[in-house]
Amino acid sequence: MAKSTTPRAAKNARTNRKAGRRSPLASVALIVIGLVATGGAYAMFTSSATANTATANSTLTSDGAKLFAANCATCHGMNLQGTKDGPTLIGVGAASVDFQVGTGRMPLAASGPQAEQKPVQFTANQIKALYTYVASFAPGPGIPDKQYLGGNGDAAKGAVLFRTNCAMCHNVAGAGGALTEGKYAPSLAGVSAKHVIEAMETGPQNMPVFNDNNLTPADKANIVTYLKYLDKNPSPGGLDLGNLGPVSEGLFLWIFGLGTIVGITIWLTAKAN
């Protein structure tokens, strides 16, 4: 704001001076000068604030650069440009790095059909340093706003969206499912709201991107609310057998249901010794 005001104000001042050196316009000039001074001061103040943040960021960025060079650069390249073993990270955004590193998928343990989830390798601060560093190269999806993470949206709307957009890979109960060539959609049980939203925004592995035009932040918050509901509320019908549908039900019935019954028939027809 301040920057854009400055040239217009200056132009106004010039025209005023050209129009004549009569005293009635002096007050206008005074106001203009006052405005310019205020704007300039504001601009100076803002820029000095930016300088402070930049200092903090530069520490993070340099930490991130070191971590990146040590853990990521082999595949992603020293300048994030990518190599034959890994894609470029220019423009992937903080959200992508936070998701991949924060869920333990990166650094990759071995190349395979897709990155496996494993214990997280870095502390929260290190992860922050890494994503700050990567985000400093080019803009991309940022860390999701806290207001969407609380799980206070509308679970019913979230459930409808989930069934339409997510269930074909992740299963209606978020239990996960198979994709082609050994890839799979992982289970969503216990995944943090932040990571769920980051995954929707960045589309890790084989997942499509659900940007804010596709699913608004409120929609995403509703989906998170539904997933939290599933996590917190066990199935009303009893143990859920992994939420895998009729296969686990049939398997259970054959092994434990019919198994029990056959055991009982053997007991009933056993001859007394």
Binding site: A159, N171, V172, L251, T269
Partner: protein, 554 residues
Amino acid sequence: MTTTETPKTVLAPTRGARFTGAAANYIDERTSISGLVKELGRKIFPDHWSFMLGEVALYSFIVILLTGTFLTFFFQASMADVTYAGSYIPLKGVDMSAAMNSTLNISFDIRGGLLMRQVHHWAALLFVASIGLHMLRIYFTGAFRKPRELNWLIGFVLFVLAMAEGFTGYSLPDDLLSGNGLRIIDGLVKGLPVIGTWTSYLLFGGEFPGTAIVGRLYTLHILLLPAILVAALGIHLVLLVINKHTQFAGPGKTNDNVVGVPIMPVFAAKAGGFFFIVFGVIVLIASFFTINPIWTYGPYDPSPVSAGTQPDWYIGFADGALRLVPSDWGFMIGPWTFSLNIVAPVLVLGLFIVAVAIYPFIEGWVTGDKREHHIADRPRNAPTRTAIGAAGVTFYAVLWAAASSDLIATHFGLTIEGVITTLQYLLIFGPIVAYLVTKRICLGLMKKDREIALHGYESGRIVRLPGGEYIEVHEQLSDYERWRLISYDDYKPLMLRPDAKGRISVTERLRAAMSNWFFEDRIAPVTRAELEQAHHSGHGAIEAAPESEPAQLH
């Protein structure tokens, strides 16, 4: 029961006995039921665990009837649009059909409703599973032979009806899973050449999903199918009584008698108790384990499909066949495309099912055996039949596994393409390998039995003879144990003989070839002469061969 025996002592009957007698007499004079009770009450049932599997099916059917009646009080078979306002939070305000709405209300807002739903569904799974196991028992013991071929056919019809009942029931709640299932059926029907589209429109009353299908399936599910099922079940049980129960060979058990306990009072008490045990097991499972959580599936909407969408287990083999058919099967004639993706699996499954239905008649024709059989075979003693059964089971099992190919892939860290390809090969070669291996195992076991019957079993006692020779003492079996090993039917390949006109027909040739296939490899049962020979040839002190009973039946 209703007899009026004169008491041996002069004691006057008590009041209770007098009342029972009077009441029984009253009923008998008006219905002549005493004859039936006398006949049925003395019906004998042999005791073996595998003879109770049909009972399990019967009892789970009763449980299904009881809980199903409860569910009909609250279920609305309508596809009219309503907005859910019940107590399950993640569906509040969602539009759905009245069927789904009422099923959710049964689950969450009607006292005991969820338990009843789960008992109904688990009992249905157990019903079909126990029928399947019962059929396998009948098959592998040859209990389908004359005079029971018709009852096999009726039992088969019951199995198909049970699957139809299951599928129609699965589709009623109009949740996402059942809608996806119906969509597959719709695709299946539409895939049939020429008549497909019209049949689909007829079924669904227009374009899928329409607004009619739930109501129609409901009528089938609670009216038509159960009526046919109960009728067929009645005939099945009447034939069971008329034909008597089979029994395994054993001392005193012949083709002309049935050894066991009478219905009244022992069997009735056992069976009654067993009903409650089966009921109890089902309720226990239903209380602790969720089945078909329609609340997570949500209302049906043609756009979403969930990962891991499968039919209930008994339709799984059909789903598996659709998954295994190569996706590029088809050809073009001029401008018309002929896709085999649906027709091929439907034909294969049709042939498989028909083969199961008519197997008793095929085997009867091949053996040419017109005798009645009331002694159940031990599976090993009919190697070819057992091997064919094993091949059939393998075929079914592969199709069944294919229905869960995606879950096999995710849970064992495999690629879904790898799983499908493996299962495609297994579908062809699995039954062949199963056939060969089973047949050899059966023949090996028969050889072992023959050896034991002739020479006894190795006792592990080594004796040194005065001459320095070491021998292992063979213990002889008791007559009772031996009887079990040597009494089985021996079939030989049919001789090809010209008929009255001196010609050999093609059918006869086929029959002789089939008979040769069935009985070419065989281990003959031990004959009496062989037994005597073995026992007199001397393996130390040996008891004499059985004198009174023939060692061979035929």
